[in-house]
Amino acid sequence: MKYRILGWLLLLAIGSPLMTAWRVVGAQHAAPLGMTETSLRDTSSPSVLSPRDSALHALNRLAYGPRPGEVDGVAAEGVMHWIDRQLTPRKIDDGALARRERDFRILDYDRGDLAGMYAEVQRERRERKLAANGAADTTITPRDQTARRLAGQFQELAVVRAALSERQLYEVMVDFWTNHFNVYFGKGADRFLTPDYIERTIRPNAMGHFEDLLIATAESPAMLFYLDNWESVAPGSVPPAAIRVRARPLFGRRPNLFSFPPRDPAEQDSMRQRAIQRAPQGINENYARELLELHTVGVDGGYTQQDVIAVARILTGWSIKRPQQGGDFEFHDWAHDAGAKQVLGVRFPEGHGRDEGLRLLKMLASLPATMHHVSWKLCQRFVNDDPPDGCVDDAVAAWKRSNGDIREVLRAIVSGPDFWAPRNIRAKVKTPLEFVVSAVRAVAADPDTTPRLAQVVARLGEPLFQHVAPDGYPEMEAAWVNSGALLDRMNAAVALAAGKLPGVTVIADSGLGAAASPDKIVAVVDREILNGTMSENTKRVITRQLADITNPEQARVLAIGLALGGPEFQRQ
């Protein structure tokens, strides 16, 4: 267990180097907010709230919650100015995160490396099993261990980035798209394709144009594998001989036919038969359906079963080059259904190969139903579980104007009256990821590469990259608030406050004397962790709990644990 408690909370950041930097930036852009015309319309909206309240709301929704002192920093800078900066993440220096990322070895491996390692681990397991005559062998080899450590780092990295990045809105959007375009880390090749998917498909496109993101996911080996499109072929299509031999790369529990060729020719022959039998022989609707239902037009987008089949036919041949080696996107002309198709009333004439798919994706990206579906989800994420129509309309209008520029859509949402409406303030319950990351930020903890925080997020019901179904983790409060999950949140809060999470260093410097009274401790916790949202009841309960605790360290830990696990901190 590596943890040290340096003291207590980082006090108000006046005078801290970080805050000084913020104030300088704020001063440079003091007057006009630098917003586009969409935002000017409603710059008055935040004025309903005090500058601190608007800053807290923005940090709760557009970031993973405030760090100590951050509410004052954003209020001083001007909340709209801070939002404007967040919408251009590239220009925000993120050196501290970049330094921490260097500890994550997983980032040194590309999907080919990971595929190779995975294959070796599988091979070792098979050999051990053979050697043990089929008996279960639970030995963990060094390579096994490395693979597990890297998988843990991959999950932890998502939490660490969310916690430490200065580009907070960008990280929020990465999480949003990771769920919108969900893949499941546990499915076969996705075990080694998913890290690459996050790095090279989701992250580069998270604040770009929706169309680019949609095409990138459609061409990503991780998605092609996850929703089976890589094996969807026109009925009757025959692969070239060379491809037929490696027709079915095998994953997981299935034996690998190709690394241990059996000696017996008859058996070899039957294996070849089986390989040919397993070769794709027709279309697979899986990706086509989810592309329409989840990624673009939505389940009420007006498509029929015939549209699903036509989309699947258009995308036949969209495949992966040597998936078992972590290969890239590859279009197989031999597998493509060359006939004419029709999707949602639009004709796709025969014989356009891969271009048909690109045309289809561009068409889907620009359909009003898609704009509405995705905008609705964004408003649900940022404004209310039950998104107001006005918010969705504003987002759709911005989408049309900007041809699907995600930044402009976000700008419209945060500039609209709904985002700032009092009834939407603290109206959402945090997801497990948001809860854990906001707690880490609230106590200014400094997580390392050990996957402890990712494990806590998993314990609370949201194991990252492990949502099996293609719909991604839900955004609704009803999905996350239940008896067991709440008790788990309380336990996690107490553990974090007590510094019991290995890899999480709670940096704190209270400035409180050893003899601080319960009242004083509660006041500081309210100011620094709950940013003044602590209810009278909570103050009373915590004060009473501290009354008989003489050890000041214990008192602080208990107060922080109760505050983080209490009802106020579950909301954002």
Partner: protein
Amino acid sequence: MAISRRVFVRAGGLALFSLGLDPLFLARAAYASFRRSVVPSDPPILVCLFQRGAVDGLNMIVPHGDPSYYSERPRIAVPASDVVDLDGHFGLHPRLAALKPLWDAKSLAIVHAIGSPNSTRSHFDAQDYMESGTPGVKATPDGWLNRYCQHDREHQDTPFRAVAFGPQLPRILAGSAPALAIDDLQAFGLRAPQPAARDRLTRAFEELYAGSATGLLSSSSQEAFEAVQTLRRVDPTQYQPTDGADYPRGKLGKALLEIAQLIKADVGIRVAFADITGWDTHVNQGAGEGQLAARLAELGQALAAFTRDLGERMRDVVVLTMSEFGRTIRENGNSGTDHGHATAMLVLGGPVRGGRILGRWPGLDPADRFEGRDLAVTTDFRDLFAELLARHMGASTGALDAIFPGFTSDPTRFPGAISG
């Protein structure tokens, strides 16, 4: 996680043990474990298992007497010689063989060609409809099992009346009636190294939520603390399944073990729910062996262990399996199956009129198929659900109308799974 969980569990166990040194507590616990068997009839219990991802009903309950089954599935049909025959036409998938004794004992009935009147092939919409109990209507705020609890006036309201096993409370139990979500019974509650510290934390959080929480945070926390209170008299870490019941490893086995444990602990459980995933077999689903076979083996073993563990208590228990829809009759291009329509559901337990395949079999001929491709639905799932609630759980006709709004339950359409 695993390591510290074990530590927590051990700590929790010790804490409970030290509480249990109270002789009165020991006496009560001992009494509790025998008391029920002398009572003539216990309240009914319904256990629902949701096969998420749409199970291939045709490979689970195989129509081996239908030649089309074999012609449509050259690569994935279960050979007739491997099927565990039930009635000459249908048979169990070989990896469900553990259920055959229950069939023979007339404790297992199968409803085939059952499903939704709604034609969606979306997992999420179809699951939503099956859980809300209102196919085609998305606005229904609560689930039908929750509505049953809302209208159940006969049975005592206890914190454990409705329990879902898993990290999330499923749609089927969402609603105004209290329902618990338990991911790990052994770790349910506040954790602290000493009982005194644990009790203190529990009290403090209880006061925090009682005084400041609103909405779902308020009701869920209240249910949680009531359940924690009840669990103090049951030591979940000390449970031993009886009669050598051997639950398979994995989430389902664990969930069913914990359900059995709560049933035997007499904490007032009436409705239990658990998920089983891994049924969305678009690729390489296998025939007698393979992907689907492995999932079915786990299901069969878990159900067999559950019934063995509960023994006599099964007399009041009905287990229902459900899945959002079935899969295509014809195998797809990847030795798998795509989203289809009707599927099969299992009903087992003491009150079941088993040993029978229920529902009308529509056949597999192209002319008999739904939209020309999928197994047609001949039993609306609400007919089966309503029958279980009416004949097993004691729901009145009036209650059924409220539990399934927009649906008129009609005993003549009940599939006949429960002795009427």
